[in-house]
Amino acid sequence: MSQIHEFINKVNTLTDPETWVSQHGDAMYRYALMRLKNPTVAEDLVQETFLAALKARHNFAGKSSEKTWLIGILKHKIIDHFRKSKREVLVEDINAEADHQDEFFDENGHWNTRFGVWNRPNEALEQKEFWEIFSSCISDLPEHLADLYILREINGMQSDEVCKVLNISTTNNMWVMMSRARMRIRRCLEARWFNAA
């Protein structure tokens, strides 16, 4: 409870824009790159985000951290980019994901497919191709699961900040979505790496 109070009472302030790139540039680039799979576009969107943030900095309300605020702007740039490039964009309520019928379990909550044993997973970590497939399995997630997994697991953002930036309404929804993301990445890795020899 006291944590929540601290959280509500905390008003964040922005740092000097000159320090933004060194503080947040890599985390933002990583997020953009993993979503877009294109280094040039990712760099451009990071740059656009910083410029937009600079213009909007007087509107910063201090309700989230500077990083969360910047990531939030970048998130919208990424959505715009997909929209412009005419890739299909499913704008759906992110919290609906938590209620989706499950594709992994039968009606009794048992796994509906069997999965295999992964041979020598530690050797995979040493191989470049593995990392390409791993990244691609994350990028190929439905977009809100990709956002969540990248920000929480790769960038290490705190759960409350992730929920704020992605408009996830409850922690429980976040856990359900995280679990769903992991199942999909697991299935993808099994198909594309461990069973693919």
């Binding site: 824009p17 000159e18 933004w20 790139v21 060194s22 540039g25 890599d26 680039y29 990583r30 790159l33 993993m34 280094p39 760099e43 990071v46 740059q47 910083f50 410029l51 600079l54 213009k55 499950d102 992994f104 379990f105 009794n108 909550g109 048992h110 796994w111 069997r114 999965f115 044993v117 992964w118 997973p121 970590l125 990392w131 791993f134 990244s135 997994y149 929480r152 697991e153 790769i154 759960s159 856990w175 359900v176 995280m178 679990s179 992991r182 199942m183 990445i185 697991r186 890795l189 099994e190």
Partner: protein, 90 residues
């Protein structure tokens, strides 16, 4: 006893937070008798390990801004700070 669906969710949560005592116990009991969920737990732990390693060399350099890009972005930011453009109405 918990279902595989419930256990998989808790196994996933255990990657990010410590489970409560009764959750831990319930998961443990299920895992004793369920080979699929044991396999699942191992593989999910591997995902977590891989996710943490993703930011280590040599992948790290590919997941960071290049020196060129960094300089370019810093310059554009500085330029925009020095000469604030006409107010945008968006």
């Amino acid at each position: 006893m918990l279902s595989c669906k419930e256990v998989s969710n808790l196994v996933s949560q255990s990657q990010n937070r410590s489970l409560k005592m009764r959750e831990q116990l319930a998961v443990k009991i299920h895992l004793l008798v369920c080979r699929m969920c044991r396999r699942y737990q191992r593989q999910i732990s591997f995902l977590t390990e891989a996710s943490r390693k993703l930011l280590q060399d040599p992948q790290k350099s590919e997941l960071s801004l290049s020196e060129n890009a960094r300089t370019r972005i810093e310059q554009s930011l500085k330029q925009a700070t020095d000469q604030p453009s006409k107010k945008d109405n968006d």
